[in-house]
């Protein structure tokens, strides 16, 4: 109860409307218990169609070869790894929100963390598709696992950043999944307890792992959350750092850059929050959860976007400056000609990236804009376009013209199946998200209840006098009332 004291009356309520615990449960669990809306079906079917097209695209690629894509002898990675890094980046906000914000006791995270964590998991699932299916011989993909084998002393190559990726991504995925699931357990138990249908009771019964809500359960749950948060926090930083090593440890000008780890992490959070915005703006509308995902939530996340966007901007400029200031003329060429020159073949992509990532988020310095839903939605899309192009710029504009001018590539555009693979991951992502929104509480019911009485609109005014009380008075009151 000590935190109660420090809930500032200046802060806006995090739960709007006259809510009590029951009402909260009602609001959030109801969509699970009623049949899905028409809109849900439309969205779900579109997602499945996209997913199927993705599956077909991969089928083509696996059967006929990576030649189903337009990569070439100079550009060995294009859309595949661009999409990989992009999805991994998107998968950063969830863990940041659940882990780091939990450790920092940011109460506002409770409204958004469940959906954000789900998004993280789905995004990492999408991301994982690319390094797997981009392999020329995917049926031998298990070679990347360090398992005891009969091939003599043959082992994986621990020097390779791709191998680090294998560990980083799989660890991240596992921890994120555990974190998300452990958070779900009390809510699943709530659904179970409310269930009137037999199958529902059984299903949620299994999923809830026998949660009874006993104090012991809560105590363990809290400890587990803290432990997982502690484990996840370094992961938020490490995953994209490791992904950035794919490039930073190479010799290719434009890839070989020491600034990459922090720059990638900032970019990842940036794009992750943008994606959270996109999804939540839709979710709160469709599931009528405006009272739980409030303007305050959106504004806070927009602040994160303008902060990380600016960090990314500084990184871009630093990189540019160093390429000019440094003595590596090959790096100078990669930046000055391949990117900065608007009229060079891929110059447009650099400016698109700059415009979307650095310039456009600056609009969020204005409170009015931060709280404008349409602006936020538009910006969230724009940021993710920009962040996609950031990865594209890094990957393609570096290698398409590197050391030997003889090997400078022709213009690379994706084939239909390359696009299909990307679109297919959207299908996977949204299929998962639709199923999630149908079968799981999209907002952490238990956690919302946790803050309801200190940050709920209905309770907050009553608490305001606490602010003026001395600590002794406060304790006196608390001990006598309970």
């Amino acid at each position: 109860m000590a935190a109660f004291k420090y809930e500032s009356h200046v802060r806006e309520p995090l739960v709007e409307g006259k809510k009590d615990y029951h009402q909260v449960t009602e609001d959030i669990v109801r969509p699970i218990e009623s049949s899905p809306s028409k809109l849900w079906w439309v969205g779900f079917i579109i997602s499945v169609i996209l997913l199927l097209f993705g599956v077909y695209s991969i089928y083509r690629e696996v059967t006929y070869g990576v030649g189903e894509w337009n990569l070439n002898k100079t550009i060995g990675w294009g859309w595949d790894i661009t999409n990989f890094v992009w999805w991994v980046g998107i998968g950063h906000a969830g863990t940041l929100i659940s882990a780091i914000l939990l450790l920092f006791r940011q109460g506002w995270r409770t409204g958004v963390n469940r959906a954000a964590e789900a998004m993280t998991i789905f995004a990492v699932m999408c991301a994982g598709q690319f390094p797997i299916w981009h392999m020329g011989r995917v049926w031998m993909a298990f070679f990347v696992l360090p398992y005891p084998n009969t091939r003599g002393p043959l082992w994986v190559n621990f020097n390779s950043p791709l191998l680090w990726d294998v560990f980083a991504i799989s660890t991240y995925f596992t921890v994120s999944l555990l974190f998300w699931y452990s958070g779900l357990i009390p809510d699943l138990a709530t659904v179970r307890d409310r269930a009137k249908l037999k199958w529902r009771k059984k299903m949620y019964g299994v999923l809830a792992f026998g949660w009874t809500g006993s104090t012991k359960h809560w105590q363990r749950h809290e400890s587990l959350s803290l432990v997982l948060a502690g484990m996840s926090t370094p992961l938020v930083l490490s995953v994209h750092t490791v992904v950035s090593f794919d490039f930073a440890t190479s010799v290719i000008p434009g890839w070989h850059t020491t600034i990459f780890p922090p720059y990638f992490v900032a970019g990842a959070i940036f794009s992750g929050f943008a994606m959270v915005q996109t999804l939540l703006l839709i979710t709160r509308k469709v599931l009528k959860l405006e009272e739980y995902i409030t303007l305050e939530h959106i504004e806070v996340m927009n602040k994160v976007i303008v902060l990380t966007g600016s960090i990314v901007g500084i990184a871009y400029l630093t990189e540019l400056f160093i390429s000019w200031y440094g003595q590596n003329k090959f790096e100078g060429w990669a930046f000055m000609h391949n990117r900065l020159d608007l009229f060079s073949p891929y110059g447009w992509s650099y400016y698109l990236m700059m415009g979307c990532n650095v310039l456009s988020p600056q609009i969020f310095w204005f409170r009015k804009m931060r709280r404008n839903l349409f602006v936020t939605f538009f910006m969230s899309i724009l940021v993710n376009i920009g962040m996609w192009f950031e990865r594209f710029v890094i990957i393609v504009t570096s290698i398409y013209r590197d050391y030997l001018p003889s090997s400078w590539s022709t213009y690379y555009t994706p084939t239909i199946y390359e696009i299909g693979f990307y679109v297919g991951t959207f299908g996977l992502f949204f299929t998962c998200y639709f199923l999630f929104s149908k079968f799981f509480p999209v907002i952490a019911v238990a956690e919302i209840k946790h803050i309801l009485k200190k940050s709920g609109e209905a309770y907050k005014p009553a608490n305001e006098k606490v602010e003026t009380e001395s600590t002794e008075e406060f304790y006196h009151q608390v001990s006598h009332h309970h």
Partner: protein, 1047 residues
């Protein structure tokens, strides 16, 4: 004691029933485990044993399913092994490559009865072991699916197979009392000449016509006028200090390029202690391979070739260079001075098809004392003997009926003749026409019968490309099909009892004196008379007339030059996918012909200014090129155009050898036929057209280039070149430049150690290394084809080259520098590029599965069956030499039916031709055929290094240079590539590196990848290096640098 009984309990002592029951059980007490149904584990529906069975079965099934085993094809072992044949050990037979009149002594490598590789025969003083791309590719022609497999009778488009007896009967019937024309390419073979004489004797009134698709009539006629000999002397480029070529592509396509390249290289080998070079000046209109190697190059309109020759003669003889002006005049005067100064050590050659020009050139050569020094009349070249007018007469005679039977071998006039339609019509009039060519080509399919001859690798024979230099031919494989060597056919039709083999054997045995000498000659492959050099008396009577005949010739705004490409030549090997896929040295284009135009043409007609980086970018990053309609001699043709710096402003160049219609799957309908633009001038067939009308079309056409950017952007870390003058002034120039690049990392001396935070590895034992001399590399591409043949490199076809997917392990990077709008200023440099086998290889550490790693001998090796295809290594290779198997190019994949013929990832017919079981016989069994999805790259011919080491080991000695030669090294006609053990101070590689220390450099040395392939800088005998800022002074070079950037 034995009866003593121990008991544990009373029940045991008493042996109750319960106890006995329990004792029989494995577990005496009830097990605590309860199954789902509440029964004991023993009663569970799936027992533990079953569980293990299921586990084992499912694991095994998963393993079996995952391993995707390819079906095993069984080979049948020898029942009785031939005595001299050891499976897996190659035999080598000396034989001769023959195409048209060209004959190159070669050694065929035969593995398990199949010839799989050709190497130059080093015993020959004629070729000195040199080969060309076409020679290297010829082994593939043996296994060409388009070869005609049986004798056939032809009517219209249909052909019916005939037994050889039936064919002979029908043909003998037809030839009865006929006046036969035997049409062949130039024949230098002494025994074939005997056969031909016997055949002609049988049919009175018959004659032998030699038809050369690329004829040297002008040279023969001019020599007849100047020396009274209708012959071509041999040339000695190695003796020339000054070489002047007037449009003669003597390194690529002119006369005998393999031998000339070898000789030429002698004058380009550079000795740093005694820095001298020959001077090579080229006057030409388009940019030829030879021109691209010239120290000084002057361009002129094609119609001015006579004027230039006359002016050069004037300048040499002191009457002054008239009829020319500006830079060209200055160039001619300077060249004349150089020629005069090098009298007796000078050589002028001309590629002109005008006899008058050749007469003028003879006069110049006479004036500079070339005869008897650099030109040898004692041993004439016999590779070209055809006189254009003779074939012209034959066509007339066929039309008039004076000749009524035609027997054709080895030539294809229905495609190669300027008036192909006229020839085809005339051929129809013959009462019998028989083709002896190997395939049913354009001409053969117009004949009534075709009795296909053997491929040269199945044949007996000989050739005398240069008088006194014989090269013998012996079969290396039993004939694959029901074919018969053309000499045998002629003998049969001549009614001779002899076979060609017996004739050949008896002729040579008697010539050499003994059967042993014959066997020895067959083994060596060459028989050579002692070399003598002689001049000839020059008759200058016709020179004045020749000068007046050529002077004042003017062409239109745009003029045409028809030329041969280095890869395809006259087009006889058009169905050879290796050659089709070999990038042209100048344009780097494959699988097509096109019109080469100047940057001026680009700017004026196409509105593409290649000096403008934005427009150049746009032009080069897309494979599609604008199509222009050319009207040439009233014939219209639409061709894509490629803008090439160094081409004279008004010149358009189109290559022959394309547009075949009956070449085969791979060669059909590739490009367009340019032979149709040749004209007959009354005495010779001319390869230039002085007026061409152009019209830009709105269409585009994709030309598959393997390199699209042409400038090295001043990146001297990649390429180093220096002028002879500068080198003499400061021989340390290259080393200073390297030191400057490396100064922040320890400088030249400590770079290897200080350039990296990691400790150095020692490299005991063998350390393979390669040195490539950019000074002698002429960019011909023979190495590239040799590598393809040796290492089973897949052909990907035009559709895939267009997608930048070609697979060559060895490529030649070609860079231009200079001002694109000043053709004379353009300099070209070639850099063979292959895996550099870096000691600190960036590809190795990024592979997640360690599929590419370093051998203890310094070879960066690929483990194909470990590769999972992440392509990270290819991305991280600074040299971009790694190639990925994007699709199933080889048909070697374990996935069935995965080669598409349409849609995304479609493969061309050429790929399927290469995957035919017949064609696959060319594969080198020592090298894995790579499957889809893995990376591959140069292996330093690891199969050869292993073989060489084994050989040395078996003989109990240390490895020597002669034990191992890489395929590219062996093929190189100029010996630019040296390969060997760099740890052995006695090896050639060590010596070359040491004795050329001042030119030694590694490409991109400053990124500390420590390549095992090193280069020797190019030294140009020119005024300056185009666009080279550091070695020149003043504003001029700054401007040049700017220009170079855009070239």
């Amino acid at each position: 004691m034995a009866k003593k009984k121990y008991w544990q309990s009373f029940t045991e002592l008493n042996q109750t029933e319960t106890h006995q029951k329990l004792a029989a059980n494995e577990f005496r007490e009830e097990l605590p485990v309860v199954s789902g149904e509440g029964k004991g584990i023993e009663n569970a529906s799936a027992s533990r044993r079953d569980f293990l069975k299921y586990l084992g079965f499912s694991t095994a099934a998963a393993m079996a399913a995952a391993s995707c085993e390819t079906p095993v094809k069984k080979a049948i072992p020898y029942l009785n092994k031939p005595q001299n044949l050891v499976p897996g050990v190659a035999d080598y037979y000396a034989t001769t490559y023959v195409s048209g009149g060209e004959a190159i002594p070669v050694v065929a490598k035969v593995r398990d009865g199949r010839p799989i590789k050709l190497e130059g025969n080093t015993l020959s003083t004629y070729s000195k072991g040199g080969t060309s791309a076409r020679v290297q590719a010829a082994v593939l022609d043996l296994y060409d699916t388009a070869r005609l497999r049986t004798p056939v009778s032809i009517s219209g488009d249909a052909s019916t197979a005939l037994a050889i007896d039936a064919a002979d009967k029908a043909i003998l019937e037809g030839l009865k009392d006929a006046k036969v024309a035997l049409v062949t390419p130039s024949i230098s073979s002494p025994t074939t000449k005997l056969v031909i004489a016997e055949f002609l004797a049988k049919y009175p009134g018959s004659r032998h016509v030699q038809f050369d698709a690329v004829s040297y009539s002008s040279l023969l006629l001019a020599n007849e006028a100047s020396f009274g000999k209708k012959a071509i002397p041999s040339y000695h480029f190695e003796n020339a200090k000054v070489i002047v070529s007037l449009s003669a592509d003597f390194l690529g396509t002119w006369l005998s390029p393999v031998t000339f390249a070898k000789q030429y290289a002698a004058g380009r080998k550079f000795d740093q202690k005694n820095p001298e070079l020959s001077l090579h000046v080229q006057f030409e209109s388009a940019l030829s391979l030879t021109g691209s190697n010239a120290d000084k190059r002057y361009t002129h309109a094609p119609s001015a070739e006579g004027t230039v020759a006359a002016a050069l003669l004037g300048a040499v003889s002191g009457t002054g260079a008239t009829g020319v002006e500006g830079a060209l005049k200055k160039g001619i005067e300077a060249t004349a001075e150089a020629l005069k100064a090098a009298a007796g050590k000078a050589l002028v050659v001309s590629g002109s098809t005008d006899p008058n020009v050749q007469i003028i050139v003879n006069a110049i050569n006479n004036a500079v004392g070339a005869y008897g020094t650099t030109i040898n009349w004692a041993a004439p070249l016999q590779v070209a003997q055809g006189i254009d007018s003779e074939f012209e007469t034959l066509v007339a005679d066929l039309n008039s009926g004076a000749v009524n039977a035609v027997v054709i071998y080895g030539v294809n006039p229905a495609y190669e003749y300027y008036n192909a339609a006229g020839f085809a019509a005339a051929l129809k009039k013959a009462k019998i026409s028989v083709s002896l060519s190997e395939r049913l080509d354009e001409t053969a399919s117009l004949c009534k019968y075709a009795v296909p001859s053997h491929h040269f690798l199945e044949s007996w024979g000989d050739a005398e490309p240069k008088a006194g230099s014989y090269t013998l031919m012996q079969p290396t494989i039993n004939p694959l099909f029901k074919t018969r060597q053309f000499q045998d056919s002629l003998l049969v039709w001549a009614g001779s009892a002899n076979t060609y083999e017996s004739l050949f054997k008896s002729t040579w045995t008697s010539k050499l004196g003994s059967a042993d000498a014959y066997m020895k000659a067959l083994q060596d492959g060459v028989v050579e008379a002692p070399a003598t050099v002689a001049g000839a008396a020059f008759n200058g009577a016709g020179v004045a007339a020749a000068v007046s005949a050529v002077s004042g010739k003017k062409g239109g705004k745009y003029e045409l030059v028809v030329y041969q490409k280095v890869s395809l030549g006259d087009g006889k090997q058009a169905n050879n996918p290796w050659l089709q896929e070999l990038p042209d040295p100048i344009t780097k284009a494959t699988w097509d012909n096109y019109a080469i135009v100047s940057p001026q043409f680009g700017k004026e007609v196409l509105k593409i200014d290649i000096a403008d980086s934005r427009q150049a970018d746009k032009y080069e990053v897309f494979m599609k090129k604008p199509v222009v309609k050319f009207t040439i001699n009233k014939k219209e043709i639409e061709l894509p155009v490629l803008i090439v710096p160094g081409v004279h402003a008004g010149t358009i160049a189109i290559a022959v050898g394309y547009g075949r219609t009956k070449a085969g799957k791979a060669g059909n309908e590739v490009g367009k036929n340019a032979y149709q633009f040749l004209t007959y001038s009354g005495s010779t067939v001319s390869w230039t057209v002085s007026d061409v009308a152009i019209a830009k079309t709105e269409t585009w056409y994709e030309v598959a280039q393997t390199q699209t950017h042409s400038s090295y952007e001043g990146r001297h870390e990649v390429i180093k070149e220096v002028t002879l003058k500068d080198f003499k002034a400061n021989p340390e120039l290259i080393r200073e430049e390297r030191n400057a690049e490396l100064k922040n990392y320890g400088g030249l001396d400590n770079y290897e150690r200080d350039g990296s935070p990691y400790p150095l590895h020692d490299r005991p034992g063998i350390k393979w290394g390669m040195s490539i001399d950019l000074n002698s590399c002429i960019g011909c591409g023979a190495c590239s084809v040799a590598c393809t043949a040796e290492n089973n490199i897949p052909v990907v076809g035009k559709s895939e080259v267009l997608r930048f997917h070609e697979m060559h392990w060895m490529r030649i990077d070609r860079y231009f520098s200079g001002n694109p709008y000043d053709a004379d200023s353009v300099q070209t440099i070639y850099q063979p590029m292959l895996c550099q086998h870096c000691d600190n290889a960036p590809c190795e550490n990024v592979c997640p599965v360690a599929a590419t790693n370093h051998s203890s001998e310094g070879i960066n090796q690929m483990t194909y069956n470990r590769c999972i295809g992440t392509r990270y290594c290819a991305n991280n290779c600074p040299y971009k030499v790694r190639r990925f198997n994007w699709l199933d190019y080889t048909g070697a994949d374990s996935f069935k039916d995965n080669q598409l013929t349409e849609g995304v990832g479609k493969l061309d017919p050429a790929v399927f031709q290469m995957n035919d079981d017949l064609t696959r016989m060319v594969l080198n069994p020592d090298v894995t055929v790579r499957s889809r999805g893995v990376i591959e790259k140069c292996s330093f011919c690891v199969q050869r290094t292993q073989e060489g080491k084994l050989k040395a080991k078996k003989e109990g000695r240390v490895l020597e240079d002669t034990d191992v030669k890489s395929a590219c090294q062996q093929a190189c006609p100029t010996d630019a590539i040296v390969f060997g053990n760099a740890n052995n101070p006695e090896s050639e590689i060590s010596k070359v590196r040491k004795s050329n220390s001042q030119r030694y450099f590694a490409a991109l040395e400053q990124i500390h990848v420590l390549p095992s392939v090193t280069y020797l800088a190019k030294v140009r005998n020119a005024e300056h290096i185009a666009g080279h800022a550091e070695h020149e002074g003043g504003a001029e070079h700054a401007e040049a640098k700017h220009e170079e950037k855009h070239a």
